[in-house]
């Protein structure tokens, strides 16, 4: 895992995109993360993470349907690229490596 430059928050957003599938657009991602993190998030923070990841090639997007609630504006549905999945797997492998070792050392639980 060399220069992937996936931030901690970006990683969380990316994971939500994968979990939400067809529903992965701004507000839905925000809700999903708020639920899991038990914290309030702003539209801005989600949107800027999405745009950054799209630029870096972690995400692709296309316009979805418009709804009344959105004042007739269309949603943009995000999709994780295979590259993103690869990077996520790498990150996970590295973390798990650490945790296995920590567990085997029998240190205090964290």
């Amino acid at each position: 895992m060399k220069k992937t430059k996936l931030g901690e928050f970006e990683e969380l957003v990316l994971l939500s995109v994968i979990v939400l599938r067809e529903d992965a657009y701004g507000v839905e991602i925000k809700k999903e993360l708020e639920k899991r993190m038990e914290d309030r998030l702003s539209v801005g923070s989600i949107q800027s993470a999405l745009k950054r990841m799209e630029e870096k090639g972690f995400l692709t997007s296309e316009f979805g349907e418009a709804t009344q609630k959105r004042g007739g504006k269309r949603k943009r549905i995000y999709n994780a690229t295979p590259y993103a999945e690869k990077v996520l797997n790498e990150i996970r492998a590295i973390r798990e490596g650490f945790w296995t070792q920590i567990a085997s050392q029998g240190l205090r639980t964290i």
Binding site: V27, V43, G44, S48, K69, R70, G71
Partner: protein, 871 residues
């Protein structure tokens, strides 16, 4: 659902700055959140959240391409102006570099001084009732002191309704050390009465500010001390001082701000004090050892109150004071003056000097002005070369205002670049500056609002000072003249430039002169024969040691060490006076008293310090009656007692109301400068009481092996007073502390002088390059007619060198006058040496001439054909 509920302004803002591609999606998201919120919150709250959400969208990744800014006409013109300004800076590289160096130096020094001054002026700013707090001091025609007689506080407290609160504080003996796990630790400790936390706003972390210092054996400590000596809260815990005295911690004060003139680590309740020394609230008019602060009631006029209390001493003990020929006045000192005041020592923490603050501010201001002068000179000199640009602009319809704006932008841009360089310089030189001013600033000290606003004011002042005049001159050019290249002499601002150069060198030379003057006086003080020998004397501080026979043992053992010549046990050493102000009379107590310095010495003192006996003899252990009743005095004392000459004084009797000094004169020592050359020599009376009042052991040694000596002393120490920490110093280093202020001044002045000369010289360098350029044709003609290079250099340089000399001649009388005033503060001082004037004039003229000739040489060497073709 009604979209009109959305806040209009936020939506517009959103559309203004969000990247077009993202707009639909993000707007949709926000609206969706808004309608979700409507179900939970009130309309108002949801709208607020929406607007807040819009603001949170200001992120680089979401912003529109910055081109939208161009829609605003003003900004585009600013951008263009900046671009042109930048091009101009690059085009005239030497010119810009000179200005950059000057302004960067100016801003760096200005920034450092600004920091120093704002810090010094911020002292004691944090007290809530600061404007009503006064320190009460006792003044007298001779000067006075910062302490008061015992009853002053009580008088103020009981007889004057204007006073809300009176604080008693007092110095505490350094023997009050903390005992902790078998060791003693030294901390700054004072006595203070219960009003302390009422008058001053030092917040308590724990404890009741009203009662913390009320009961005897209460003590307030700082947070830092609490952390050091206690696990958790110290409140209510016991603390042992002075080996056996137990105090209860009744308060923990938050660590004191650095900019407080009151610095302590422990405060013992004042009510404890009478258990250790005699003290009376109503009696003791001759005991000046209490420091008082008062808080006036709101709305009281301090001047009226001052008039009322001036005569407290006279009203109570006037007769007694008249008899003694003394006059005391009770004086109020506003809180803010305690730290910066130059009159009194501040026994409660750090002391500064308003004079020093003023001096450095003035010099830093001069430096900035000089750097601005460079800018003005160069810009106006250059105006000829920019005339075409201005003429062109005018022809196509530029207003004068926009041309002024163009030139001001240039000076602003340059100032901003200089600011960056200046800040870098500050970062690099900060450790050195700290050293110089004995401060401990860090980069975070610069992040105060007062500093940042100060530096902004500086930047704008410099931009205006340096940019406005040239802008005005250049923009005033008439387009026709400007385009045809025919400029009026006046437009080139020759006279102004001449005046400014003269002023620059007036300041430079004045500063160089002052520096040399201070260095001269310093050299004088350091080379003058002081009358005693401070080399090879090691001093052991024995102030804290108990009075016991072990002191005698220590002295004998020290004397037995290899390489030790003599050991003396005494209360007074050069730089560390004995009891000053002891009254004594010749023969009987009548007439005017002599203020003597009482010194407790022994038979080795005279020899250890290399003093000379001019009449009579030293104390000798073989003559016990002389040890008991003999006195050795100095020549000043002989004169003060009215005994004309030293021989005459032998056998005369000195008496004193306090019994110290009292005895028959057995010897007279030659006067010596025990307090350096700033102070007059006190009449001294030395008594054979070293073992009773001794505070120091001075060890005169003659070995070069100080290392072995110190090891020997440490061994001796551990066998006698091993449980006290050994503190020693060398007399010569200790004595030189007295010259610290002057040394500091000399250093500061030298640095400023060098920088100011550099700034002036490079300014001259830049200017001359323009002047030489404008006289290219003249030089060409002169050369073809047969002038030598030397002659041409002379012709071109003459005028400027004359200006420099003129500046010098203006500086001389002023320095002479103020220099003499400064010197008169020293009791013994050098005369102003006329050679310093010659040196300064020669140095500045040579520097100016060299600067000028480098440039003029270039012009003079040019091939005349080229010169004549020029233009």
């Amino acid at each position: 659902m009604n979209s009109a509920q959305l806040p209009k302004w936020s939506r517009r803002l959103l559309r203004l700055f969000i990247h077009g591609e993202y707009l639909e999606e993000i707007e949709g998201d926000l609206e969706e959140v808004f309608y979700d919120d409507l179900e939970v919150y009130s309309v108002k709250e949801a709208r607020r959240k929406y607007s807040f959400g819009v603001l949170k969208l200001f992120r680089v990744s979401l912003l529109k391409n910055l081109k939208w800014i161009y829609k605003l006409g003003l900004i585009i013109s600013i951008m263009r102006t900046l671009k042109i300004a930048f091009r101009n800076l690059i085009k005239f590289k030497t010119h810009s570099a000179i200005n950059l160096v000057g302004l960067s130096l100016g801003l760096a020094i200005g920034g450092l001084i600004l920091l120093y001054v704002t810090d010094e002026l911020s002292f004691d700013d944090f007290h809530t009732n600061g404007d009503r707090i006064y320190k009460v001091v006792t003044t007298s025609p001779e000067g006075g002191m910062e302490t008061n007689a015992h009853p002053i506080g009580y008088q103020l407290r009981t007889k004057y309704p204007e006073v809300e609160s009176v604080l008693y504080t007092r110095w505490a003996s350094p023997s009050f050390k903390i005992n902790y796990e078998g060791k003693r630790y030294d901390h700054k400790v004072y006595y203070a009465s219960e009003e302390f936390f009422h008058i001053f706003s030092f917040p308590l972390k724990s404890g009741d500010p009203k009662t913390a210092l009320k009961d005897p054996y209460s003590i307030v400590i700082t947070e830092a001390l609490e952390e050091t000596y206690f696990d958790g809260s110290a409140l209510g815990q016991a603390i042992t001082l002075r080996d056996s005295v137990n105090f209860t911690v009744t308060g923990v004060v938050e660590d004191l701000p650095k900019n407080s003139h009151i610095q302590f680590e422990m405060l013992m309740s004042f009510s404890t004090f009478p258990d250790f020394r005699w003290f009376s609230y109503t009696d003791g008019w001759g005991n000046f050892d209490v420091r008082n602060y008062i808080l006036l009631k709101e709305g009281e006029d301090s001047e009226e109150f001052q008039a009322k209390i001036s005569n407290i001493y006279d009203e109570n003990v006037g007769d007694w004071l008249d008899e003694m020929g003394m006059k005391f006045t009770t004086t109020l000192m506003p809180l803010k003056e305690v730290y910066l005041g130059d009159v009194f020592w501040n026994g409660f923490g750090p002391n500064s000097s308003g004079k020093r603050v003023k001096t450095v501010t003035i010099i830093a201001a001069f430096l900035l002005i000089l750097a601005c002068i460079n800018y003005i000179n160069l810009s106006t000199a250059r105006s000829a070369y920019r005339a075409k640009e201005v003429g062109m602009k005018k022809v196509v319809g530029s207003s004068r205002g926009s041309i002024i704006a163009q030139f001001m932008t240039e000076s602003f841009l340059l100032t901003m670049i200089s600011l960056i360089f200046g800040m870098l310089l500050i970062m690099i030189t900060l450790p050195f500056f700290n050293d110089l001013m004995s401060k401990s600033y860090t980069l975070s000290s610069f992040l105060t609002p007062s500093f940042t606003s100060g530096i902004l004011v500086l930047v704008f002042a410099i931009t205006f000072l340096s940019g406005y005049y040239p802008a005005l001159v250049i923009s005033g050019l008439r387009p026709l003249n400007a385009l045809s290249g025919k400029l009026d002499k006046a437009y080139q601002g020759l006279n102004l430039r001449k005046t400014l150069i003269t002023f620059q060198f007036f300041i430079s030379s004045g500063l160089v002169l002052s520096t040399l003057l201070v260095i001269n006086q310093l050299a004088y003080m350091q080379t003058q024969d002081l009358g005693f020998d401070k080399e090879q004397v090691l001093v052991i501080n024995a102030t804290d040691l108990p009075k016991s026979t072990t002191r005698k043992v220590l002295k004998n053992e020290l004397e037995a060490l290899v390489g030790v010549h003599k050991v003396t046990h005494t209360n007074a050493l050069p730089g560390r006076p004995g009891w000053q102000g002891q009254w004594a009379y010749p023969g009987k107590q009548e007439g005017e008293q002599v203020d003597t310095e009482y010194m407790a010495i022994d038979e080795n003192y005279i020899e250890a310090l290399g003093l000379k006996i001019v009449a009579g003899r030293n104390f000798e252990t073989s003559r016990p009656s002389e040890l008991k009743d003999g006195l050795i005095i100095n020549e000043s004392c002989v004169i003060a007692m009215g005994w004309e000459n030293s021989e005459n004084a032998i056998g005369k009797r000195i008496v004193s109301p306090s019994g110290t000094p009292e005895g028959n004169v057995i010897g007279v020592v030659k006067d010596y400068h025990g307090l350096g050359l700033q102070e007059q020599i006190w009449p001294k009376a030395m008594d054979y009481t070293g073992d009773t009042y001794g505070r120091y052991y001075a060890v005169k040694y003659d070995a070069k092996q100080t290392y072995d000596l110190i090891k020997g002393i440490e061994k001796t120490w551990s066998s006698t007073f091993g449980d006290y920490s050994l503190e020693y110093f060398f007399l010569d280093e200790d004595f030189d502390r007295q010259y610290r202020e002057e040394n500091q001044l000399a250093q500061v002045l030298s640095i400023f002088a060098i920088i100011i000369i550099i700034v002036s010289a490079i300014g001259l360098f830049g200017l001359i390059s323009f002047v030489a350029l404008s006289r290219t044709k003249e030089v060409g003609i002169r050369k073809t007619l047969g002038a030598s290079i030397g002659q041409i250099v002379f012709i071109l340089s003459k005028e400027f060198v004359l200006l420099v000399i003129l500046g010098n001649f203006m500086a001389v009388p002023l320095t002479w006058y103020f220099g003499n005033q400064w010197l008169n503060d020293f009791a013994y001082h050098t005369r102003i040496d006329p050679t310093i004037f010659i040196i300064t004039i020669a140095a500045t003229v040579v520097i100016a001439f060299l600067t000028v000739s480098i440039q003029t040489m270039k012009t003079a060497r040019m091939n005349p054909v080229k010169a004549l073709r020029y233009e």
